[in-house]
């Protein structure tokens, strides 16, 4: 009669090994190196992680439409869009490295934990080699960290906080969207030209990471040109009625109100400011002005007539006249019947850039992709010449200063381009104090 002895330690060891084996995403040897989710069949899977529910669901939906369009173009369907204007000719419309592109989607809900969970699911269960999308800096930082740990590439969607490519930068993460510092650098000269250099600014700032970095950036750039900052007031993210924050502005001696708000916060705070007649006031012998440093088309539509004449900045706008923009707007407009938003353009460009990097690197290995993207200069995707800087994985390109259209002729004509700020004016050094404290580390292939 045999006796089987089972020790507690033995069970734990066996369990740990079995658990690790089951939990880990598949690591296969491909291209001579092991990396996470190496595609072995005739397809490759991309993960599109966008807000499909929650306050930014419309923005997420626009991102998803653009990502689907990008997949069509990569697979040789449709009119090819920006594949015809992209300076790199590596993409041939036959998928990526000959593999047909497929995609899975996740819902970030604009919550960091939900976004991480959906990205994790796409990586571990669906075998996604790249995660793209999102509409919040908190989400971007959280998902970027996850992708770094998991060994896949993260091509960020809409994220504007300096920290994404500052203190929270990661080797596996890349940001095509501009940032708060760039907004300040682009806006300041236009503000000086239109409003003068002797202004007193009052800031209302959404009380979370993005709001703080934007306030810091705009205060720095406006004070550098001579403006005085009267007050900076943090407003809870959950605020809906900003009237009690607007009323003190009337008695503060400020002649400019800067709204460091986004989404519903911005729509409500701007609406409230207009209700209180701020734009009809004269303070310090100057016409009172409002500035919204970060605009989006969907916010502009939500704010309606209230944005008329209000200055802000954008990453990209469908009214640009470069070849890449025209090609993308034509593809998107003919397919969906309306112009794309700048978050849609960001996601579209990011998907093509990832695919192009794989083609140029000849591999899906994240380290090969990172090498192909670092220091990469290109054109033809909108915004003119663009550089993915190796030091921090931040894109550097022209930035737009826009104004709420005074006399819109149709539903999409909500913003007009005031200036295309050249990239040189918004470029900063990698060790700039606003971006300090971060370390890219090394790329993680997941092996």
């Amino acid at each position: 009669m045999s006796k089987t002895t089972v020790s507690r330690r033995g069970v734990l060891k066996t369990g740990a090994v079995a658990g690790a084996g089951l939990a880990a995403p598949k690591l296969l040897l491909a291209d001579g190196h092991a990396y996470t989710n190496a595609p072995t069949g005739s397809t490759v899977t991309l993960g599109f992680n966008v807000p499909q529910t929650g306050p930014y669901a419309d923005e997420g939906n626009d991102e998803l439409l653009a990502q689907q369009l990008a997949v069509e173009h990569l697979n040789g369907e449709g009119d090819g869009g920006c594949l015809n204007t992209f300076t790199s000719k590596a993409l041939q419309g036959n998928g990526i490295l000959g593999k047909k592109v497929e995609f899975v989607t996740g819902d970030t809900q604009t919550k960091s934990d939900a976004a991480r969970a959906s990205a994790k699911s796409m990586i571990e269960k669906d075998g996604a080699v790249m995660i793209n999308g999102g509409s919040s800096s908190g989400v971007a930082v959280a998902v970027q960290g996850l992708c770094q740990e998991a060994g896949v590439i993260f091509m960020a969607g809409l994220t504007h906080a300096n920290d994404t490519t500052g203190k929270d930068r990661k080797a596996n993460g890349f940001r095509h969207f501009f940032n708060a510092y760039m907004s300040g650098a682009a806006l300041a000269p236009v503000l000086a030209a239109e409003m003068g250099t002797e202004r007193r600014a009052y800031h209302l700032t959404a009380d979370y990471n993005w709001g703080w970095t934007q306030e810091e950036s705009i205060v720095a750039s406006t004070e550098a040109m001579g403006w005085e900052t009267v007050n900076t007031v943090k407003t809870p993210l959950a605020s809906t009625d900003f009237s009690s924050y607007i009323a003190p502005v009337l008695n503060s001696g400020a002649d400019v109100l800067v709204l460091n708000h986004y989404g519903g916060n911005m729509v409500n705070s701007l609406t409230n400011a207009i209700q209180f007649g701020l734009l009809d006031k004269v303070v310090n012998n100057k016409d009172f002005k409002i500035v919204v440093p970060l605009y989006s088309e969907l916010m502009a539509a939500g704010a309606g007539e209230n944005i008329k004449g209000v200055l802000g900045s954008m990453n990209w706008n469908w009214q640009l006249q470069d070849a890449g923009t025209k090609a993308f707007v034509k593809s998107f407009g003919e397919k969906y019947g309306r112009p794309p938003s700048n978050s849609a353009q960001t996601c579209y460009a990011q998907v093509l850039l990832y695919a192009d990097a794989c083609e140029r690197a000849g591999t899906f290995n994240p380290c090969g992709v990172v090498e192909a993207l670092e220091g990469y200069e290109f054109d033809g995707l909108g915004n003119g010449k663009t550089l993915y800087r190796a030091d921090d994985h931040q894109c550097f390109k022209d930035v737009l200063v826009v104004r709420g259209a005074q006399n819109p002729t149709n539903a999409y004509d909500t913003l007009e381009i005031v200036e295309v700020t050249p990239v040189e004016q918004v470029t900063y050094t990698p060790d700039h104090p606003m971006f300090a404290g971060g370390d890219l580390g090394t790329c993680n292939p997941g092996a």
């Binding site: 669901a57 809870p236 809906t240 009237s243 009323a247 003190p248 009337l250 008695n251």
Partner: protein
């Protein structure tokens, strides 16, 4: 001085919304004993009644204007609302412009209907269940309703501007020889809330129906023993409470653009208002609504936020803690309500 007056006005205005929602919540709790977490959703549905009417009135036909181009370079499709073609641009334009006040008429039957459906279809099955069950089911219902609205209207806020005649600002400081401007529509909202609150109190105080309802709130069983169908009256009160929340939502649209989540934004605050005012107390709900609105407004002044950073974010909850520690039944709470 002008800053204090401005913040007081602003607090009264904020308090109007809190008081109207809390009034409906208290009505439902006081009559049916239900903790209705879907009440914020009724406020949101009211706001979307205004959005719907605005869209119905703006229904348009398209004509092609060859002289203008759209974003793809095709001839522009110009939309003309039917009401403008039927009644002329001036009258038709005015009808669309006054869509929010007109929506009050549109919203009353709809909100009463929604209230009846909600009470008869779902909530009545939970009368004898614990409050935790009621909270769960009504909270779930609120989520379902907001997702339905999001499905049809999207997640982006939708502007419902006030009529031009009630837009802009009024100098309210002229009485005191000061220059204090305040949005006209917010003054309208404040007066409207006083009117609705007054109407609800008058209805309960001066009508036979109201007297029976008040008696039922005090002692449901005894009123039932008198042969009065108190349940039917309480169902009607649910409909009235839904209409109050809905009308508050309709008129709130021009203050902040309606979005599917606006009910949830108000829900927690309104419950704090009800608790501070005293569970089941209608005057308490109104008093606490205005009081917390004013305190929140004062706490957002530059002086307050620089003296105690963050006070604007916690003041309401701070007051709630102090009130509950010193007066556990709230400011005007009655003995025996929500007490075992």
């Amino acid at each position: 001085m002008d800053a204090i007056l401005l913040q007081t006005l602003n607090g009264l205005d904020k308090g109007s919304a809190y008081a109207l929602i809390a009034l409906g919540l208290t009505l439902i709790f006081g009559t049916l004993g239900v903790v209705n977490f879907a009440h914020g959703a009724l406020f949101m549905i009211g706001a979307f009644c205004a959005v719907t009417l605005q869209r119905v009135l703006s229904l348009s036909y398209e004509t092609i204007d060859e002289t203008q181009k759209d974003f793809l370079g095709n001839p522009l499709k110009v939309k003309t609302p039917y009401v403008e073609s039927w009644f002329g641009p001036d009258v038709g334009g005015a009808i669309i412009e006054w869509s929010v006040p007109l929506a009050l008429l549109f919203a009353i039957p709809i909100m009463i209907g929604v209230g009846f459906a909600m009470e008869r279809g779902l909530i009545k099955h939970f009368y004898k269940r614990p409050h935790a069950d009621q909270i769960l089911v009504t909270f779930g219902l609120a989520i379902v309703l907001q997702e339905v609205v999001k499905y049809f209207f999207g997640a982006n806020p939708i502007q419902t501007p006030p009529p031009d005649a009630l837009n802009g600002v009024a100098n309210v400081g002229i009485i005191f020889g000061m220059d204090i401007v305040y949005p006209v529509w917010r003054l309208v909202y404040f007066l409207f809330s006083l009117l609705i609150i007054g109407a609800v109190f008058a209805f309960l105080q001066f009508t036979t129906f109201g007297m029976v309802v008040r008696a039922g709130m005090a002692d449901r069983e005894t009123v039932g023993l008198l042969g009065i169908n108190i349940d039917r009256r309480f169902t009607i009160m649910f409909g009235i409470a839904a209409a109050v929340a809905g009308l508050a939502g309709v008129m709130y649209g021009p203050i902040n653009a309606p979005n599917y989540h606006m009910g949830m934004d108000f829900l927690v605050l309104s419950f704090v208002v009800v608790v501070v005012g005293g569970m089941g107390s209608l005057p308490g709900a109104v008093l606490a609504g205005f009081l917390l609105g004013i305190l929140e407004s004062y706490a957002s002044t530059t002086w307050a936020t620089t003296t105690i950073p963050g006070i604007n974010q916690i003041i309401i909850y701070l007051v709630a803690i102090v009130v509950l520690l010193t007066r556990p039944r709230g400011l005007m709470g009655r003995k025996g309500v929500m007490e075992d």
